[in-house]
Every structure is written in structure tokens, then in C-alpha cells.
Amino acid sequence: MSGSGYSSALGLVASVVLLCAVATLWRRSLGAIVRALAVQGLALAGVATVLGIHHHDAGLLVVALLVLTAKAVVIPMLLARVVRGDPGSRETQPLVNVPTSLVAAGVLTFLAFAASRSVTSLVPTTAGRLIPIGLAALLVGFFTLVTRRKAVSQIVGVLLVDNGVALVAFLATAGVPLLVELGASLDVLLAVIVLQVLATQLRSKLGSFDLDQLTELRD
């Protein structure tokens, strides 16, 4: 792949990862939030593929395939099943309203820029320059996790943070060892299955995914 084409393609897929994180703040319907997560998984696999092709690294392509299966297909499907249990469910009253959240996402992006300046100077590659985007995706995911009320959006928030970490790892090291990526992916998958069961239980007991209704302990 030629130099400018590589940098442009890598920039594009990395930006899509950040865009999807912001989209979870923008959209209200839980189905759309889960779809944004699936697209983010796809873009993350794209990052690994572009890096793998550029570095002629077959291991990275296997990792890309793994990311694609776990983060773009299996996990969104599990979450979509939870959402399907309560169709029309929406993030009606987030703790921070949508326009303010979007402005906060912009502020967080610049914060990520300022914070990662010293890291970026350590990795003077094309991929290294994109580290702020990964960090911004992580911060925006954390913001989703903190300010959204529904169980599904909070699970998505956790996964956004995880995807942000994965993106920073890809960009900083040009490839995580296959074993590490396999372990991390399985870990996340397991967590999602547990959270899915939890969310389903929550809905059958309370009739909604709203975590704010969990205010008192009962046996």
C-alpha cells in the first residue's frame, strides 16, 4: 500500500471508530446504539486489517478476523437479542441531555489530544499519530457509561471503552500478540454474556432496563 493511501485509509477507519462512539451519545433508540457498536467493531477490524496489510503481518490479519467475529458480529447480536425483548425501548432521559453530551464529546476529544501528546511523541509513526483518536473513543465510551441510564447503553459503554483500549493498543504497538488478543476478546465476550443475563433478569423483574430503579435491596 502506498504511503499516503495507507495513512489516509488508517485515518479513515480510526476516525470511524471515534464517530461510532459519538453516535452512541447522539442516538436514543437502543437498537441504533447497538448498531453503532457493531459498526465500531467493523472499523476496529478495519484498523487491524490496514495495519496487517501495511506491515505484511499475517498474525494481525488473524487478529482482525477475530475482532470482526467477536466485536462486529457475536457481541452486537447478543445485545440485539436483549433489545428485541423490549422493542421501542429508548434512552429517554439520559443524565446529561443529548446536545450537551455531544459538546462534551468534543471537549473530551480535545482533552484526549492534550493528554496524549507525550505518548504520541514516543511513537513517531503514522499509526502513532492517531493515538489521540483511540484515546478520545475511550473517553467518549466512558462518558456513555457514566451518563446513560439503560442497562444496554451501559453495557455498550463498557464495550466502547474496551474498543478504545484495543484501538490504542493497535496504533501504539502495531499489533498485539494473537494470544493476548484472543484472551481479551474471550474475556469481553464472557462479560457480555453475564451482563446479558443480568439485563434480561432486570427487565423481567422491573419491566425495564432502567438501572435507576434499583434503589433498594431486597432478598
Partner: protein, 320 residues
């Protein structure tokens, strides 16, 4: 001598641009209405109907509210004049329109804002409750769209190192790959939302409605009649055509003439008409499937455009 002939040439091409948009704008609106009607299973008015309506309105009697001041008759003239100046200096048909050095994106945006501000003042000037409501809504949307527009301009100008529109377009012609850079794509995404908001199309405003709860632009210009209404309608369609023209030349400037030669100008005109018609038809197909967004949800839409443009700026700073 050559500078004089250059001036005459660019002036002539700018004149061609203005005439083309003045006549093409209503045709574009008519085409968009026709597409929409056909998709909804109706026959729809002829494509040239908006032009015929303009002719009819220009012949009608002029009625003005008793209480209105000098702002009311002035507003349509200012609206059409500012849009016409913007059209004259924008690279729509050629990359060398008259005064191309002042064809800055900031200048264009604020020329359009002058027109919409005067129209909002006129809406309140008539003294009716509807006009005031429409003006207040239009100004609210304008105030929300403006920051998104400015950040979009910033994102667009990073790649070209200039906010001069002819320079950006020439840069794209010289390096076609720069269209696919993330900052350009994000900025264009934000620009689509801003254009929809600025030109009062669905899902921001419904140009066909006369239902008081949802009117924005229509409420503002409710008191206009006859030639005044014709000017307002013409200004609105010119504005839509101009915004779409800027958009298509940022996305795909191919076919744009790089000189003021008459053959190239004709090719540029045909290319512009084809591209704007394509985007207009796409927009009206999209409108068939969209409902108007609630007024209170509009800040979300426009904040989305703002963040999209901001991401464009950020990735423009990172990706090189």
C-alpha cells in the same frame, strides 16, 4: 490589456452563473417537488411550475401591512441581492469567478446570514403573531447552525490551507484523493445537515406545510404577497441551488471550467446542472422517507453536525 479582458471575462462568467441560478433554482425546486410527488403516487405539478408561479406573482398587486415600516419592503430585495452577490463570487461554473480572491467561505456564509437576518426582522415587522413565531424559530435554527457551519469551514480549509473556496476547489481538482480524507468526509457530512437546516428542507422545516404548528419559513413570510412574495420565493430557491452547488463542487469539482473560455463555461454549466439535479433528486427521495424532527429535537441534530465537523478538524490535525 490582458487584466481588462480578464476582468470582463470573469464578470461575464459571474453574470452567467447568476442567470443560471436565478432560472435554475425554481426549476430545481420544481424537479424536487415532481420527484417527491411521483414517489408518493401523485402526478404532481409540472417541473416549470415554480417559474410560472413567479411570473404570476410578479404581475399581481402588492399588498403591505399598514403597520409595517421600511424594513418590510426592503427585506426581499436585500435577500435576493445578497444571494446574487454570493452566487456571483462562488466558483459554480468556473474556478475563476469575478472577485475570486474575496470568495472566502466566511464571506459566503455571512452574506447568506445577512439575507436571513433581514427576512427575520421583516417577519416581526409585520406585527402578526405568526411572523414573530416564524422569525424566532428561524433565528434559533440559524444560531444553532452557525457554529456547525464555521467548524465545517475550518475542517474544509485545513487540507487546502485556505478558506478561499476557489483555492479549495482547485486543490481538489489537482489532488482528487483529498476528497476521501477523513476530515473532508466528516466536514461534508456536517455540511449536508447544515445545508438542510439553512435551506429549510425536511427534517428541519417542511417547505410544503401550511400547518401553523410546524411552519418556520412559511410563517415568517406569511404577510408577503405579489412581487414581494415572488422575490422571497426566488431568493429561497436561489439559496437552495447555491448551497447545493457549493456542496457538489466540494465533493466532485469535475467538469468545472478552469478558465473563462466560452466552450468550457458551457461544459461547466451542463456539469453543474447535472450534479445539482442529481443531489437535489437524492435529497427529495430522502425527504419522502423522513418525517419532520420535533422543534425541540433540532438542537440534537445540529449539535450532531457540530461534533461531526469537530471530528473532521481533529482528524485533519492528526492525519497527514
Amino acid at each position: 490589456m490582458s487584466t481588462v479582458s480578464h476582468l470582463v471575462g470573469t464578470g461575464l462568467v459571474s453574470g452567467v452563473q447568476v442567470v443560471a441560478v436565478v432560472l435554475g433554482g425554481p426549476v430545481l425546486v420544481g424537479t424536487m417537488r415532481k420527484v417527491r410527488c411521483r414517489l408518493e403516487g401523485r402526478v404532481g405539478p409540472p417541473v416549470l411550475q415554480p417559474l410560472i408561479d413567479l411570473r404570476k406573482l410578479f404581475r399581481k398587486q402588492r399588498m403591505r401591512p399598514n403597520q409595517a415600516t421600511w424594513i418590510f419592503p426592503l427585506a426581499p430585495v436585500v435577500l435576493v441581492a445578497t444571494v446574487a452577490v454570493a452566487i456571483a463570487i462562488t466558483p459554480l461554473v468556473t474556478t475563476q469567478p469575478a472577485l475570486s480572491s474575496s470568495s472566502d467561505l466566511f464571506v459566503l456564509v455571512y452574506l447568506l446570514i445577512v439575507g436571513s437576518t433581514v427576512l427575520a426582522l421583516a417577519g416581526m415587522d409585520a406585527g402578526t403573531a405568526f411572523g414573530g413565531m416564524g422569525s424566532s424559530r428561524a433565528v434559533t435554527i440559524g444560531a444553532l447552525a452557525e457554529p456547525a457551519m464555521l467548524v465545517t469551514i475550518l475542517a474544509l480549509s485545513i487540507g487546502a490551507h485556505s478558506s478561499n473556496l476557489p483555492a479549495i476547489v482547485q486543490g481538489t481538482l489537482a489532488h482528487p484523493g483529498s476528497v476521501a480524507t477523513p476530515q473532508r468526509l466528516f466536514a461534508l457530512g456536517a455540511l449536508v445537515i447544515v445545508i438542510v437546516a439553512e435551506s429549510g428542507r425536511l427534517p428541519v422545516d417542511n417547505p410544503a406545510t401550511h400547518l401553523e404548528l410546524t411552519m418556520i419559513h412559511e410563517a415568517m413570510v406569511l404577510e408577503y404577497s405579489g412581487p414581494d412574495l415572488a422575490l422571497v420565493t426566488a431568493g429561497q430557491s436561489m439559496r437552495l441551488a447555491l448551497l447545493l452547488g457549493i456542496f457538489v463542487n466540494l465533493v466532485a469539482p469535475w467538469g468545472l471550467s478552469t478558465s473563462t473560455q466560452s466552450v468550457e463555461v458551457v461544459v461547466g454549466l451542463v456539469a453543474l446542472a447535472a450534479k445539482v439535479a442529481f443531489v437535489g433528486i437524492t435529497l427529495s427521495v430522502f425527504e419522502v422517507f423522513t418525517a419532520k424532527v420535533r422543534l425541540f429535537r433540532l438542537p440534537e441534530l445540529l449539535a450532531g453536525a457540530f461534533v461531526l465537523a469537530l471530528l473532521g478538524v481533529v482528524s485533519g490535525l492528526v492525519v497527514r
